[in-house]
Amino acid sequence: MSDMGAAAAGPAARRPAPAVSPRLGACPACDAAPLAGRLAEAGGAGRDAGGTLILSLPAAHCAACISDVERALTGHPGVRTARVNLTLRRVTVDAPGLAADELIPVLARIGHEAHELDPEALSATAADRQGRDLLMRIGVAGFAMMNIMILSVAVWSGAEAATRDLFHWISAAIALPTIAFAGRPFFASAAASLRARRLGMDVPISLALVLATAISVYETTQSGHHAYFDAAVMLCFFLLIGRYLDHRTRAIARSAAAELTALEVPRALRIGPEGEQAVAVASLRPGDLIRVRPGARVPADGEITEGRSEIDRALLTGETLPVPAGPGQMLSAGEVNLTGPLVLRVTAAGRDSSLARLTALVEAAEAARGRHASLADRAARAYSPAVHLLALASFAGWVWATGDLRLAVNIAAAVLIITCPCALGLAVPAVATAASGALFRRGLLIKDGTALERMAAVDTVVFDKTGTLTMGQPRLAAAEVLPADLRPVALALAQGSAHPLSRALAEALAGDRAAALEAQREWPGQGVSALWQGRRVRLGRADWLGIAEDGADRPGSAAWLSVEGRGAPIRLDFTDRLRPGAASCVARLRADGRRVILLSGDRPAAVAALAAELGIAECHAGVDPQGKAAAVAALAEAGARVLMVGDGLNDTAALARAHASISPASALDAARVASDMVLTGHDLAPVAEALVIARRATARIRENFAISVIYNLVAVPVAIAGLATPLIAALAMSTSSITVTLNALRLRR
C-alpha cells in the first residue's frame, strides 16, 4: 500500500525507496530547490514563451468570478484569449507582448487579487500525464468490473456447468488484460519495494491480485465453482481510486510549491566588463560586483561599494524601521533595497553564502518532518506482515487439516482478497482529499501529507509580528497633524519617492490634489526635497532634517515634513497595518482554548502595542532567529505542540522546529518551503479554521481505520473458515469502501 503508506504518509514512507517511479514531490523543497535553480538558468525566458501568461487567482470561487475575470482580461487591448481554471484557481492568458504587471492592475480594478506565475515552472507535464494515466486505468478497470460483475451475477444466481464455465472464460478474457494493465502501478511499486528489501503495502496487494487471478484461471480450466475475477478487478478499481485521489491531493500541493517558487526568480544583475547582465544567483562568485535596484531584494551577501539608500530588513529580523545604508556597510541576502541604487561587492558565495545557509535550514526542516510517522504509516507497518502471516497460516492450516492443496490455495487467496486494504487504501486519501479541498476553499494550501495530523495536535500558536500579523506595510497613523494647506505639498513630495513611507503618505492623502513643486530631488537614504512657492520643503528622516530622534519608544516609524518659514518640522507617525482577519483569528484561537504567543524581532514598544491591540497576553520582543527557534524548542520540551505562523528568514528555523507551521504567500521562499501550509490570500482568519478542520480530519481518519478493522474482524474469520465465496468478498469489499468514502465526504460540509 504505498498508496496509503507513501501517499498519505508523505516523505517518510517514500524515502527508503527512491528508485520508485519518478519521485513526485514528497517534499516540496526537493521540487522547489532545483526548480528555482532551473528557473534562474532559464533566465526567465519562460515568461515570454508564446506570449502565454499564467496568473494565480487565490480569491476566485464562482461563476461570476470566471466571467468577470475573463471579460476584464479579453477587454484589455492585446489580450487574445483568457481562460480561467477554477480547480487550480489560475487564469491562462494568451497575450503576446504583454507583461503580467500590466494585467494584474486590470484584475485589481475588478477586485481580484492576482499573482504572476512562471509558465515554465508550472507546465508540470509529468504530473499531468501521471494523473491522466491513473484516470485511464480507473476507466479500464471500471469498465471491466461492470462487465465481469454482470456475468458474475449470473453465476451467483445459479448458472450451472457449461454456462458457468463459459461465463468464467469470458470473465477471464476481460480480467486478465485488465489486471495486467490496471494493476501495473501496484506491481511496479511492489517490485521496487521488494528490491529495497521491505514489505510495502503494495506487496500484499500485488500478491492478492496475482494469486486471485491465477487461482481463478486454474479453477476455470478445472470447471470449478468459484472464480475471483470480479474480486480481483474490483480490488484494482477501488485501490486505483484511492491512489488517484491521493495523486490529486499531492499534485495540487506540488503545484502550490511550484507556484510559490515561480513567484520569485533568484537572479542578480552582475556588472561585468561588457555592462550589466542578469545571471543566476548560484553563479555569483566572491568579488563580483552586482547592482541592486531600488525596490529589489538583495540577492547575495555583500559590501556596499557605491550608493546610499535605506534597507528594509523586516524579512530577516522582523524590524519595521528601515535602516540607512552607505558604502562600506554589509548587506545580507534577503534584505530589500528601498530608495537608491546600490552597487555591492559579493563577499559570500557558494557554501558560505546565505543561500547555502538557507538550504541547510530547509534540510533541517525536512529532517524534522521526516521524523513524524503518520497514522497511515504506523497502520501500514503493522499491516503487511500480519496479512502475509495470516494467509500463510490459513494455507498451512487447511493443508494440515484436509491435505487438499487446491482448497488450501483457494482459501489463502480468499484471505488475501478479504484483508486487502481496499477500505484502508481509501481511508486516508479520501479524508486528505476532502480536508485539503475544504482548506483550499478557505485559502490554505497543504504542502505536506502529514501536516493535517500534526495540525490536529496543536495546542499553542506562536505568531511572528511583521509580515504575519501585520502586512509589513506602513500606514499613516493620523493625517490630522498636517495643516490643510500643507497636505498638497506633502502629497507632491511623497509621490516623488518609492519609499514605503512615502507611498503610505501618498495613499493617505490620495483625496488631495498635489501641489506644483520645482527642483524635486530624492536623497537616497535620507528623504526628498523640493521648492514650493520659492520655499524649500523637505520630507525625510529626523537626522537629515537636523532633529534629535526621540521615537525609539514609539510603536511605529516616523517621517518628518519641514517647510521653510513654517516653524518646527511636523512629525508624521506611521503604524504597520494589521493583516485582515488577524484580530478575529487570534480571538478565535483564544476562544478555542489555545495558548497564543507573539515572538518578534522588532522593538519592544511596537510589539507591546500590537499585542495589546490583539489581546495577546504573552509577547517577546527583540528575539533573534536562534532565539525564536530556541523558544519554540523550549515550548516543545515543556510538552506543548506548537504551530508556528511566520514569514521571514528569521522565522525559518522556528517554522522548521515547530510541530506544524503556516506562512503567508508573501513570505520569503525559505519560510514557505519550511512550512507545511501556505496562506494564498491576505486574510489570516483561515489559520484558526485550519486547526478545526485538521482536528476533524484526523478524527475521520481514525474512524475510517476503525471501520476497516471492524470489517476485517467480521470478514477474516469467514475467509479463514473457508466460507468466503466470491459473492461475499465482493459485497464486503464494496460496502466497506463506500462506507469509508462517505465518512470522509462528511468533512466537506
Binding site: A63, A64, S67, V84, L86, T87, G139, V140, L151, I170
Partner: protein, 53 residues
C-alpha cells in the same frame, strides 16, 4: 441459450463504447477543470450565440 452468443458481445460492445467515450473525454482534457465547468454552466454569457473561438 443461443441468445447469449448475441447478448454477451452486445453488452460488451456497449460497455466498450462507454469506455471509448471516457478515454476520448480524457484525451480532450475535459477533466482538467471540473469545478470551473460546473460553474460555467451557470453563466448566461454565451446563451444567445456560441462563443467565438
Amino acid at each position: 441459450m443461443e441468445i447469449l452468443a448475441i447478448l454477451i458481445p452486445v453488452s460488451l460492445g456497449l460497455g466498450a463504447i462507454g469506455l471509448l467515450a471516457f478515454l476520448w473525454a480524457l484525451r480532450a482534457r475535459q477533466f482538467e477543470d471540473p469545478k470551473g465547468d460546473s460553474e460555467r454552466i451557470l453563466s448566461d454569457e454565451w446563451d444567445d450565440r456560441p462563443r467565438p473561438d
